[in-house]
Symmetry: C2
């Protein structure tokens, strides 16, 4: 530190899908990337439990040190630690250990960042080292550094993200092919878009992790996963997708941030989006982030949110940028947060958000029930904008009744749903509730 240097030494933890891509890019493009950084980039150590095997087939490895002990990355010969092992405890020890020893850190670990992002930022700033998070959200799409550097004149007013490719693939397959959720999930698995255990993806939790990172970066607001209302796509049915289509809407799993003054709504759940909106056209396993900003107005960023080379692209860009900073001797990590520093933001409890709703009941006695449902909604101040009841039920089988509401508080809707529930078995399973987003701009 404090003086110009001839090279920057890199240590990589984890040679999985992304780590292997990072290694390849840094080895093959070493010369050009070093020129971009303004300093020679050199990988000095790679740590992985199966490093020897995972490095097979790579040439140009040169004098690279290979180890299975993460602590080897804390040795003095490493300047930047690239953490790609995932998980929490070992990654946490590595990241804090590296920062303590004044090493810069590049990480794709959204789970860790969603809970400890603030502490990691603060320590990196205190130590005067670099911190690269680009790969943690949106894979190959430049988002984090763009918000941190290129939109610095803006206040964030709204954020709407399709941040989980698996969920988007499933919802789109359901929409295009009118197949049930389970079949679409199986297709995602067959195409390699879904893990053996897809819970993290389809439950919305992966999206919530990413939302937490974006909130921290954009607003210096770190509410933690517990403060983000999170609902997955497991209950979205073919029927809802079909009704959505009739209404000119498409169902997407969105991460949503809205700010009103110093209050922040942050939530993850399925949303009906107008068919004319760009987010409705984000297909397959792609990701997109739609921002509403004070100066630029709406912006959208679209691309691949996962995969070896897209994610490696983000890791390498961070690495080159940090190396360039280190080469110039003094590292100044820009603090997170938007225009105002925002010292006193608070999150809005889910009960207090206001939105429009799509409700679907499966009713066995239509003529009697529609009135009762409408009355219960009215009792709680929930105003209905549309009732759709296509099928008449003959012989008592259940048929769908769909109601759309005007904007209302979640609290009022919940109270109305409770009253409707008390009407009894005639309504069958719990209703489908999908929030509708029409977008201000």
């Amino acid at each position: 530190m404090g003086q110009e240097r001839g090279r920057v030494a890199l240590g990589i933890a984890g040679v999985g899908t992304v780590g292997r891509g990072v290694l390849e890019l840094l080895l093959v493009q070493k010369e050009t990337l070093s020129k971009k950084a303004g300093v020679a980039l050199e990988i000095v150590r790679v740590v992985d439990r199966d490093a020897e095997q995972k490095l097979s087939g790579l040439s140009n490895l040169g004098g690279l040190d290979v180890s299975s002990n993460l602590e080897d990355l804390l040795k003095p010969d490493v300047d930047i630690v690239i953490e790609l092992i995932g998980g929490t405890q070992a990654a946490k020890d590595l990241i804090f250990g590296s920062l303590e020893k004044k090493k810069s850190v590049v990480t794709a670990n959204k789970a860790l960042l969603s809970s400890l992002g603030r502490e990691i930022f603060e320590l990196a700033q205190k130590q005067g080292v670099g911190l690269g998070l680009e790969a943690s959200v949106g894979g190959g799409i430049p988002l984090i550094e763009v918000i941190r550097n290129n939109l610095v004149a803006n206040r964030l007013d709204g954020l709407y993200g399709i941040l989980n490719g698996t969920s988007n693939f499933i919802l789109e397959a359901m929409t295009q092919k009118r197949i049930p959720f389970e079949q679409a999930l199986a297709e995602a698995g067959a195409k390699g878009y879904a893990e053996a255990d897809p819970t993290l993806d389809i439950s919305g939790k992966d999206t919530a992790h990413k939302l937490c990172v974006l909130l921290g970066v954009a607003l210096d607001f770190w509410p933690g996963l517990g403060a983000v209302y999170t609902e997955g796509i497991e209950r979205v049915a073919e029927l809802d997708i079909a009704y959505g289509a009739d209404l000119g809407m498409v169902i997407k799993l969105l991460a949503i941030v809205k700010r009103v003054g110093r209050s922040i709504e942050c939530r993850v759940h399925p949303v009906m989006v107008p068919e004319r909106h760009l987010l409705a056209h984000v297909n397959g396993a792609f990701n997109a982030l739609y921002l509403d900003l004070s100066c630029t107005g709406p912006l959208l960023f679209f691309g691949q949110g996962a995969g070896r080379y897209p994610t490696a692209s983000a890791v390498v860009a961070d690495t080159v940028a940090i190396a360039g900073g280190l080469a110039r001797g003094v590292y100044a990590l820009r603090p997170p947060g938007s225009l105002d520093g925002e010292p006193s933001l608070t999150s809005v409890p889910m009960e207090e958000i206001e939105t429009e709703y799509y409700l679907r009941y499966m009713v066995s006695d239509v003529p009697g029930m529609v009135g009762k449902i409408a009355t219960a909604l009215g009792n709680h101040g929930v105003s209905i904008s549309q009732v759709i009841q296509k099928e008449r039920n003959e012989g008592g089988e259940r048929v769908p009744v769909v109601l759309l509401t005007h904007k209302t508080k979640e609290r009022c809707l919940k109270a109305a749903l409770k009253e409707i529930y008390s009407l009894g078995d005639v309504l069958g399973e719990p209703p489908q509730v999908i929030r509708i987003e029409r977008f201000a701009s």
Copy 2:
């Protein structure tokens, strides 16, 4: 230079639409932006022919020096010159004069950059100062710096840009309302999207300027405007838009770059784009850039390409980034160009590009002419994929005949069109020729 400093002094040339926005942001957000830069940002001088009048209503002006002489910006008390006067000669003198005096430069001047970008980059690098071009392309959408910094691991394989809001507004109005070009142009004027003289916008020349800047930044390739085939939207007719819709295509004015090895296609013209592609959904006066990159795959960036605050957002982000660099004493301007340095790129002559075509003739004798047109196309190896002939002509009035071709060389098509022309007056006006782009990814 060479040592840390307590403040960075800014001089602004031009207080027009954008300049006023930049001033407002830098004055109102001075404290936060200085914190982001890691150094105090101070506007020391504003130069404009009518500065006094244009500054009316602004508070916080403090000890700001106001002048009508651009040379005052070359005085030693200015560190960064923000050039927002536009035009070429005076802006050129100011930019080169500033760089010569080791001042950093931020500019939105796409016309100047399209012809002198390489020289400006080289001089800035030689002088060890900063250069910010973000505002020259895509208004508030972060593009230039994103390509330069955040996508550094990628080779650019393709670029497709909607870079002129006026043209996009006109084409969309024609599409949505099925109105003729002149009426859509008048609407654009009424809404403030078109200048009194809209030639630069609708002729494609503004888009070509921006394409030149992007080529330089992304590939270190500076062919100059003369090497970019440029065609505007003046001849696009309602009829073509209607046929496009029948074919599932939308007409957009695109800047296109494709690379094959070390050869670069660069061109600007109306294009039929599949309705399912995101670019087909870029509405109104918005801009978008779709990139095809070696690691990330396809990326899209969307937002407002013009206007006071969007463009000011870009200028301020550049200014803050450069000030941050200056504050640390040593400024290292990253060279332009993508992964490989690309020393020997050449542009592909328009005659040699290969694409699919939409052709429309207005024919007064259908039964006779379709065969003759098809024969002439065949004579030159142009293969027809579809012929559409909806109306029968009765009594000799002209009716449209539309032909779609498979991929063919522009040279072959031109030769065929020449042969068809020789068939004489029966074909009326020159045919409409619109290229079709189906996108690889």
